[in-house]
Amino acid sequence: GAGVSQSPRYKVAKRGQDVALRCDPISGHVSLFWYQQALGQGPEFLTYFQNEAQLDKSGLPSDRFFAERPEGSVSTLKIQRTQQEDSAVYLCASSLAGTGTDTQYFGPGTRLTVL
């Protein structure tokens, strides 16, 4: 596709439910990032993949958060037993080669609301 796509665009979950957020990066992009953006704030890093390898998950806020990219393309961010503080926009970004000069291209985000 032409850009990074994310689905669903909006998700409402009841507290305690599990959710799965999907990211389709730009075809051929090696690096994939997940960020969490709380209302009125800048994004915060969650995790990073290079191909299928998860090289950094230091930003995941708890063990309820899990991300995978099994074939080095599509990625899924899973949140178990959602809490109200998980309400945020979850942004996915991809870049071509993962080098320092690369531009990260962002998807439209998934807005998660936990009731």
């Binding site: 990032f33 994004p43 890093f45 990073y48 291209y105 962002f106 985000g109």
Partner: protein, 116 residues
């Protein structure tokens, strides 16, 4: 740890005028990259301009230019001839060269309002 600070939560400018958005950062690294991203309402983050720290020349992209002061750790964005389509949240971001994950570290953003 690296931090990015945007001290202006909101700025407004008259259409066709010039506006400058401020950004400061803190790092002990010598090699890094700085970015300005634009996030229109309910739309995705778009790269506006990028600056490599080793370059002394300020980056320019059409109506957008930066004033990069490495010693002062300052990276402001100047928008000339402001247009209604420039209205958005603007985020300043930092990325180190030295690490392997290349995560972006973000400021809190500045909301830019364009007055017609």
């Amino acid at each position: 740890a690296q931090t990015v600070t945007q001290s202006q939560p909101e700025m407004s400018v008259q259409e066709a005028e010039t506006v400058t958005l401020s950004c400061t950062y803190d790092t002990s690294e010598s090699d890094y990259y700085l970015f300005w991203y634009k996030q229109p309402p309910s739309r995705q983050m778009i790269l506006v301009i990028r600056q490599e720290a080793y370059k002394q020349q300020n980056a320019t992209e059409n109506r957008f230019s930066v004033n990069f002061q490495k010693a002062a750790k300052s990276f402001s964005l100047k928008i000339s001839d402001s247009q209604l389509g420039d209205a958005a949240m603007y985020f300043c971001a930092y990325r180190a060269e030295a690490y392997s994950n290349y995560q972006l570290i973000w400021g809190a953003g500045t909301k830019l309002i364009i007055k017609p």
